[in-house]
């Protein structure tokens, strides 16, 4: 069959003029044309404008509030610039016990701890300066370094000297102890569920549920759980001789109690993401290691964990960011009590607002923002970036 035959055989449709399908230039067409030409702006402007109005404007306005004394009056409010007053009151003044804690003389243990941390931080900074030095890198490290020294001395003067610590300490306790516990348990559960077990879907759905329950609900549920006389574990409390024990009087018990509720809610978050990460590790790697005779622990440490690590770091970053905002659980479970033992900084700020002290409220909020940003940026630079770069 030759080419000529081919051409003759194929029925050729009538060719259309180019652009025969072009629509009429109606208003709609012209509008969509205009929109297309401005699609660059059209796509991104709404998000930028909303963030500017609801995030950036309040952030700046809040800064002004933090530096002034603002009172609500009929039909508006009046504010007066007071400089650093709101901050100094929190850090050095009459509210110091509330924010930082009660300071008396520092105990021997406190001195030892404070000096140890200071020495360690200075040593680490010196090591950095010797290895490599850039101005921005140095300043960037100076913030977390100074902050960790300050916080170490704060704990040395309060916790280690037998004094009560304030909302800053409580928040850090929630963040570091709470997140640490949640990470370890979440990782463990995810690893267990990634083993060849039956009913994987059942466990996956079940373990996920607490994350969805409203934090208010979690607060009330755990208040019921912890009721020593009418709660489900009443008999156990009585047997242990704690029948009349009240959560509302023991600071550490109350804090632990908040962390248990928080963990119950948030472990599922870490669990579900890490489980997906575990299951995304290519089977080939694991099977190759099994053929080479590696034990389960070796496979986990050498093969699975390096693959899961970047996900774990990011999940923890997200979790830490959210943990700094903790407010619902302590408010519902203990109302910040006993005293201020379970009061987080968010709650502290909220109580100041409720007392109509806008300046204090904004100042605490800004202190919280500062601590959050320094912690999260340090975490990001030291853990997430470091590990991803390998």
């Amino acid at each position: 069959m030759s080419l000529a035959d081919n051409l003759a055989d194929t029925a050729r449709p009538e060719p259309r003029a180019p652009g025969a399908f072009r629509a009429n230039r109606s208003f709609g067409a012209r509008f969509s044309e205009w929109l297309d030409r401005h699609s660059r702006q059209f796509f991104i402007t709404p998000a930028v404008v909303l963030i500017l109005i609801f995030s950036i404007f309040p952030l700046v306005a809040s800064l002004f509030l933090a530096f002034s004394r603002t009172r609500f009056r009929a039909g508006g409010y009046k504010s007066r610039f007071v400089g650093w007053d709101n901050f100094t009151k929190q850090i050095f003044g009459s509210e110091q016990f509330h924010f930082l804690g009660t300071f008396t003389s520092i105990s021997l243990l406190g001195w030892a701890f404070g000096l140890a941390v200071t020495a360690w931080v200075i040593w680490a900074m010196a090591g950095y300066v010797r290895r490599s030095f850039t101005v921005i890198g140095f300043i960037g490290r100076l913030f977390p370094a100074l902050m960790s020294i300050c916080i170490a001395w704060m704990f040395a003067a309060t916790l280690l000297s037998g004094n009560q610590f304030g909302t800053l300490g409580v928040t850090l306790f929630y963040v570091f102890v709470g997140c640490g516990v949640q990470f370890l348990i979440g990782l463990g559960l995810a690893f267990l569920c990634s083993q060849p077990i039956r009913g994987k879907n059942f466990f996956r759905v079940t373990f996920f549920i607490p994350l969805m329950i409203t934090p208010i609900g979690v607060g009330y549920i755990f208040r019921m759980m912890a009721d020593t006389s009418k709660g489900p574990f009443a008999e156990i409390w009585q047997w242990a001789g704690l029948g009349n024990f009240s959560w509302a009087t023991d600071a550490w018990a109350a804090r632990t109690f908040v962390i248990i509720g928080d963990s119950w809610q948030w472990i599922p978050f870490i669990f579900i993401i890490l489980l997906a990460a575990f299951e995304n590790v290519p089977k080939d790697y694991v099977e190759a290691a099994q053929v080479d005779g590696a034990s389960s622990w070796q496979i986990f440490r050498e093969i699975t964990w390096p693959q899961v690590m970047p996900v774990a770091a990011t999940v923890m970053l997200v979790r830490v960011i959210e943990a700094f905002k903790i407010v619902d659980l302590p408010n519902i479970m203990t109302s910040g009590g006993p005293g201020i033992a379970t009061e987080s900084m968010s709650l502290h700020s909220f109580y100041a607002w409720r007392a109509l002290d806008l300046g204090q409220s904004a100042a605490i909020a800004y202190l919280l923002l500062f601590v959050t940003v320094v912690c999260c940026v340090s975490f990001f630079n030291l853990v997430v970036l470091n590990r991803v770069r390998g």
Partner: protein, 356 residues
């Protein structure tokens, strides 16, 4: 020493229990440990929910006379709490429920729409905002806020003056400096908004809504929720859009589709799974949000979490049975969504973004 592969005779006594009999199977000893740990955790997760459920069917006496565990055996379940909730206080309950629904749905729709548009733009269009212009904008915005707040000028006047000043300065100064930011910077800026603790922004937001008379309205809460969840949408959807092959969009472009048409016809349908997952996530976050609602709503726009926490304040102490019922009512829709959401997560749909 020459390397020697382990032999089967070398197995110790313990290995019999803990060495898997085959690839992809578990040894009996491991099995016992794994399943018992999982069972313990299942109990820890489910027991509080079980307790919540049975408490909602208890009468006041059943709750106060000590712990009862099994309905029909330990105590006789009643519908007392449910009747209180839906018959006596039905107005409050239904209103809060409807408020919560309307707010969660509208805020999510707004947030997902705007967020995915921005995420798509950042994944596909190159932006080069001028750093100097941005700095001028920030300085002028701060000035406007200062004059309005601290010096007490009318905010409309100072905003207008500020806008005029900005356009003048941006043209005069901003153009001379060629320091540009990129898409990555914009993306980081948007996502980093999530770090802001709500208490930092909520007071000015409160004042803002107060000054335009929108306090305690749906629209105030919807807008606020849409913005606080925007970073999540941008973050997750950026990753999703980024993973769609560019070929498809280029092909549509060659076929004559506009960018908006490409977005609607090609990109959105292709990212249905990601959109569904993000939508569920945001709707759940809006549904459960507490602190902002506490500031921005009092009665009219009261949401469920506020209703629940307000039940604490009764003079008879907490009515645990009614409280349990209302919490159950609140979590039922979320649990249904959670089952679907967990499927998306386990498919790895939200994993990409987290990988860093």
């Amino acid at each position: 020493m020459a390397y020697r592969a382990p032999r089967i005779e070398d197995r110790g006594a313990l290995a019999k229990w803990f060495e898997p009999p085959a690839i992809g199977a578990m040894a009996p000893g491991t099995k016992i440990i794994v399943y018992s740990l999982l069972a313990i955790w299942t109990l820890f997760v489910l027991f509080p929910i079980y307790w919540l459920l049975i408490t909602s069917f208890k009468s006041a006496a059943d709750v106060n006379n000590g712990p009862f565990f099994i309905p029909f055996v330990d105590y006789q379940p009643t519908l007392q709490a449910w009747r209180d909730l839906f018959v006596l206080d039905w107005q409050d309950t239904i209103r809060a429920y409807l408020n919560s629904m309307v707010i969660a749905v509208c805020a999510t729709a707004l947030c997902v729409l705007i967020g995915s548009m921005a995420a798509y733009a950042l994944a596909r269009i190159t932006y080069r905002p001028n750093l100097v212009t941005i700095l001028i904008f920030v300085a002028i915005a701060a000035g406007v806020i200062y004059t309005a707040f601290a010096l007490g000028f009318d905010w409309r006047v100072s905003a207008a003056v500020g806008a005029a000043l900005f356009f003048f300065l941006a043209r005069a100064i901003g153009r001379r400096y060629k320091i540009h930011l990129g898409n990555g910077d914009i993306l980081f800026w948007m996502i980093s908004q999530r770090i802001l603790p709500p208490v930092v922004v909520v007071i000015p937001v409160y004042m803002m809504f107060q000054s335009v008379g929108l306090l305690d309205t749906h629209i105030a809460i919807i807008l606020t929720y849409a913005v606080i969840n925007l970073p999540i949408v941008v973050w997750l959807m950026y990753d999703f859009f980024d993973s769609i092959p560019k070929d498809l969009e280029e092909s549509a472009q060659l076929d004559g589709a506009t960018r908006i048409m490409t977005f609607r016809e090609i990109v959105l349908p292709l990212s249905r799974a990601g959109l569904a997952a993000v939508t569920l996530l945001v709707i759940i976050l809006c549904w459960n949000e507490y602190l902002l609602a506490l500031f921005l709503s009092t009665t009219e726009a009261q949401t469920m979490p506020i209703l629940v926490s307000a039940m604490n304040a009764g003079e008879r102490g907490i009515l645990w049975w009614t409280m349990s019922a209302v919490i159950i009512v609140m979590i039922i829709p979320v649990i249904a969504m959670a089952a679907v959401l967990q499927k998306f997560i386990s498919k790895g749909i939200l994993l990409g973004a987290v990988k860093g």
